[in-house]
Amino acid sequence: MKRLVGFLMRRFGWMVLTVWAVYTVSFILIKLAPGSPFSAERAVTPAIEQQLRARYNLDASPLRQYWDYLFGIVTRGDLGWSLKLEDYSVNQVIAEGFPVSASLAVFALVFAIVLGVTAGVISAVYRGTVADVSMMATAVLGIAVPNFVLASLAILLFVFLIPIFPAAGWGTLRQVILPALCLGAPVAAYVARLTRAGMLESLMREHVRTAFAKGLSKRTVILRHVLPGAMLPVVSYLGPATAGVLTGSLVLEKIFALPGMGSHFIYAATQRDTFLATGMVLVYTVLLFTMNTLVDIAYAVIDPRVRLE
């Protein structure tokens, strides 16, 4: 327990360092990027632009801005105001978008793991059969097709050809299923392949042979002795998988018109919405870091040889 707490403390320290580093880098990037956040179709006069700058504290020296903003984040958790969505503060934008993105990601990941592990186990156990080959071929297909193509095809198939899902939008469970499936598909494919490989490896292990020799049922052996070992690569993939799901959601939010965080992320970066961009990057960084930490803990839980350090 002590070690776990110590580990978490150290990780937290690293996270603070990471977030700070990311903040600094993105601040510099944003300052370097040409262009003003106040460009509008009706060009604004310099006087007005100056007013706008002053309103957002963008008229201070860069170093001053750097500290002021950092101070606001640390003391008040205040990420500032969005420059483009004028009625919203960055915190509000995140508060509205996060639940959507998170729901989508949770569904996608759960779906991907359940489907991927099941498929992987089946194809490892029935290695070489038609089921195995076809499942693995599908899995490769899942990896080989960009998800915007997959999503467009899925819409044609499940919205128009077999009308079971609504075309887009957010608000009901039915609306979340199709995007979550599309988002989870590549992850599921990857998980299936990893599970299969892991299963095949553990099936060769001595302790599994012993278990079989003891006369335990196939089911028991696979669930109790093979699967946990086979899960290691899957667990270590969960970190990158989360990153993949977050990136993938940018595309799906666009295609399915979902009000998640992903679209803000792209807009903020391309439209020079300084504060929103920084806020988004920080949120994503914290998310990824947390996920990586959880993966490390899970690793230690599954494999007793691994020590948290």
Binding site: M1, S39, E41, P166, A168, G171, A257, R272
Partner: protein, 655 residues
């Protein structure tokens, strides 16, 4: 790790997963609105003084009412089905114009109230227009009131010695003389009126030649804040300012650390022309609102139908401040609908306001303005019945849609053109510009690329403005184009410097650019590059004049040629191509002060002839608006301004 802890962690993980899934599948299902439409990008703001785009317009026109409202008048055009919109009474029950077209007297309805029941009076308009023009509001559309005397000086913060000015002291709520500025410009600090006697300025800081725009504007602003103003403060009686009675002579500055500050100098936000005290607007009684113009603008009533001139709720803004007052729980409106709900990047739900003065005529109870950007997604939702009106369809499908009964096309007051940077070679040569313009096959572009019935454009101003006749457009053969190019020193396209077409990321713009690229290659042997950028960066690049050729489009702000032609005034900030022509400027200035409509239009037409001759931009086509509207929707009018008052909609029950 001990076994028990591992077991516990496994259990905890499982619980977390289950809780997460349960949490994720918990939705508050919302009942669908009676009518839903595609509203493009998420609206930037619901503040009429800060909004600019079409998505904001679709909402603002329905939650606020102005003095006048643009409504369809007369029978639809038999060919196109288009009905012209004209200014008709709204909050103003009627108005009178003086014979010289310089004074408008609006009589307000007595039953017009804000959605919280507070009555709307003429003072609301004075306050709203002052806020709209106030420099700190930074309203992009503030030029729409520049026809009022002193409005432009007020909005741009220009003051001269001898002006009647207002000084806003440094005592806005929460401010002390040493504190930072409160960014809320309303409610305002104490206002002192007087006549500006002197401005003492420290020496102007010198800047390196290559200083960035940002540095220049911040240095200038800092310098200006150290100016010290000397003012003859005027006496006031009950409701008048006695400009000629000097009460005291005082000095004001916004930066008290300035070297020129005297011991009794008071801190102030700035010195502006006393716009609202100089007779531009009069309120003889709460229900009479008189506006004096400095130019006889024939289109002023149209401006009054546009949202920047709408009244905004003073009591609400002063209570909540910006931007909080536009939050759905705070906002007070005065239109047929109020804001029921706003979900970022999802929808704005409009709910019928029973307090609106003409509420009985409004039929549709709830309307969803859905923030959907992808044309394909919108079309899918329309097909499955989740949307009732879609105004942006994928261009690949226009041909398929054109045959359908629910697809409506109407000419729009908008032009699509390629702006040329006339400072950069080879585009600084008018012969090259004309050759490029001649070598574009516009018929092919409108028929095979845009396909919805856009009109090929050979001049700037879209047809359909009453009383205006555009000059003959750009005309010539390919051989003439080649000859012009040779004359300019590039025979057969040889030796021409490479240039690039800049466009904002969009399938349709890309297609047009690619076709023009091919046409120039085929016809003139000129190879051009293409570059796409996101909207924000694209605008920025144009405004900093760092482009060769840029895709551009302009939607008329009001039905008058001036809205297009004034973009190329040499002093216009919209003139990104840096084209300067004195005759052009002079003709537009003459037209502005001309009260005879026919003469005015002919002056504008002459100006456009110069434009066509000099080709500061290559016109490509004039827009059409394209609407997919479900057949059970009645009361959807097509208009050149492309405005669609939602309160006129009627839904058939048979949906």
């Amino acid at each position: 790790m001990p076994l028990e802890l591992r077991r516990a962690l496994v259990a905890v993980t499982l619980v977390i997963v289950v809780v997460a899934v349960l949490w994720a599948s918990r939705f508050d299902a919302m009942p669908p609105a009676d009518f839903s439409f595609q509203n493009g990008t998420d609206p930037k703001t619901l503040d009429p003084h800060r909004a600019t785009g079409q998505p904001e317009g679709h909402i603002l026109f329905n939650i606020f009412s102005g003095l006048l409202e643009a409504l369809p008048e007369g029978p639809p055009d038999p060919e196109t089905g288009v009905q012209a919109l004209t200014p008709q009474p709204s909050v103003a029950a009627g108005y009178e114009v003086s014979p010289d077209n310089m004074t408008y007297t609006f009589t307000l309805r007595r039953d017009a109230t804000w959605s919280d029941g507070v009555p709307i009076t003429s003072d609301d308009f004075v306050w709203s227009w002052t806020r709209m023009l106030h420099p700190e509001t930074a309203c992009e559309y503030n030029f729409q009131l520049f026809s009022l005397p002193y409005a432009e000086a007020y909005a741009t913060g220009v003051v001269d010695v001898g002006d009647r000015v207002e000084v806003e002291l440094w005592d806005r709520p929460g401010e002390t003389t040493t504190s930072e500025a409160n960014p809320q410009n309303f409610p305002r600090g104490t206002i002192v009126y007087g006549i500006l006697k002197e401005i003492a300025k420290p020496p102007e800081p010198s800047l390196p030649e290559n200083a960035s725009k940002e540095l220049i504007s911040s240095t200038t602003a800092k310098w200006q804040s150290s100016w010290v103003y000397t003012i003859d403060v005027a006496k006031r009686d009950a409701d008048d300012i006695l400009w000629d009675d000097v009460e005291s002579v005082e000095t004001f500055a916004s930066d008290l650390d300035s070297t020129l500050v005297q011991p009794d100098t008071r801190r102030a936000h700035g010195v502006l022309v006393a716009f609202d005290q100089l007779g531009a607007m009069e309120t003889p009684d709460p229900y009479t609102f008189i506006v004096h113009l400095k130019d006889p603008l024939p289109y002023f009533p149209f401006l009054a139908t546009y949202y920047p001139l709408f009244p905004v709720p003073r009591h609400c803004i002063e209570l909540h401040g910006k931007p909080m007052w536009t939050r759905p729980e705070n906002i007070v409106t005065n239109g047929p609908y109020r804001v029921g709900l706003r979900m970022l990047r999802d929808r704005v739900r409009l709910v019928k306001d029973p307090n609106w003065f003409n509420a009985d005529s409004v039929e549709v109870e709830t309307i969803d303005a859905m923030s959907i950007e992808s044309a394909n997604t919108a079309l899918n939702m329309y097909t499955t019945g989740e949307l009732d009106w879609v105004y942006d369809q994928p261009i690949t499908l226009i041909e398929e849609l054109k045959g359908r009964d629910d697809f409506h096309v109407a000419p729009q007051l908008a032009a699509y053109y390629y702006e040329l940077n006339t400072l950069r070679p080879p585009l600084d040569d008018v012969r090259v510009r004309r050759a490029l313009a001649l070598a574009i096959n516009r018929e092919q572009i409108v028929q095979e690329v845009t396909k919805a019935g856009q009109a090929p454009a050979y001049f700037l101003v879209p047809p359909g403005i009453a009383g205006y006749q555009s000059p003959p457009g750009i005309d010539g053969t390919l051989d003439e184009a080649k000859a012009l190019l040779a004359e300019a020193g590039y025979p057969g396209g040889r030796g021409i410097p490479k240039f690039t077409i800049l466009y904002n990321t969009n399938e349709a713009h890309r297609a047009v650019a690619e076709v023009i690229q091919q046409q120039w290659q085929n016809n003139l042997n000129i190879q051009v590059g293409l570059q796409n950028m996101e909207w924000g960066s694209f605008l920025d690049k144009r405004q900093q004049k760092r482009f060769d050729i840029s895709r551009a489009a302009w939607i008329g702000d009001y039905p008058d040629p001036n809205t297009f032609l004034d973009l190329w005034l040499s002093e216009s900030i919209q003139n990104n191509g840096s084209w300067v022509n004195e005759d052009y400027d002079r003709l537009l200035a003459e037209a502005a002060s001309e009260s005879d409509t026919t003469k005015r239009m002919s002056l504008l037409s002459q100006a456009e002839a110069i434009w066509v001759d000099e080709v500061p931009a290559i016109p490509i086509y004039h827009y059409v608006s394209k609407h997919l509207v479900k057949p059970y929707v009645n009361g959807f009018f097509l208009s050149p301004q492309d405005q669609h008052p939602l309160r006129l909609l009627r839904l058939e029950n048979s949906r």
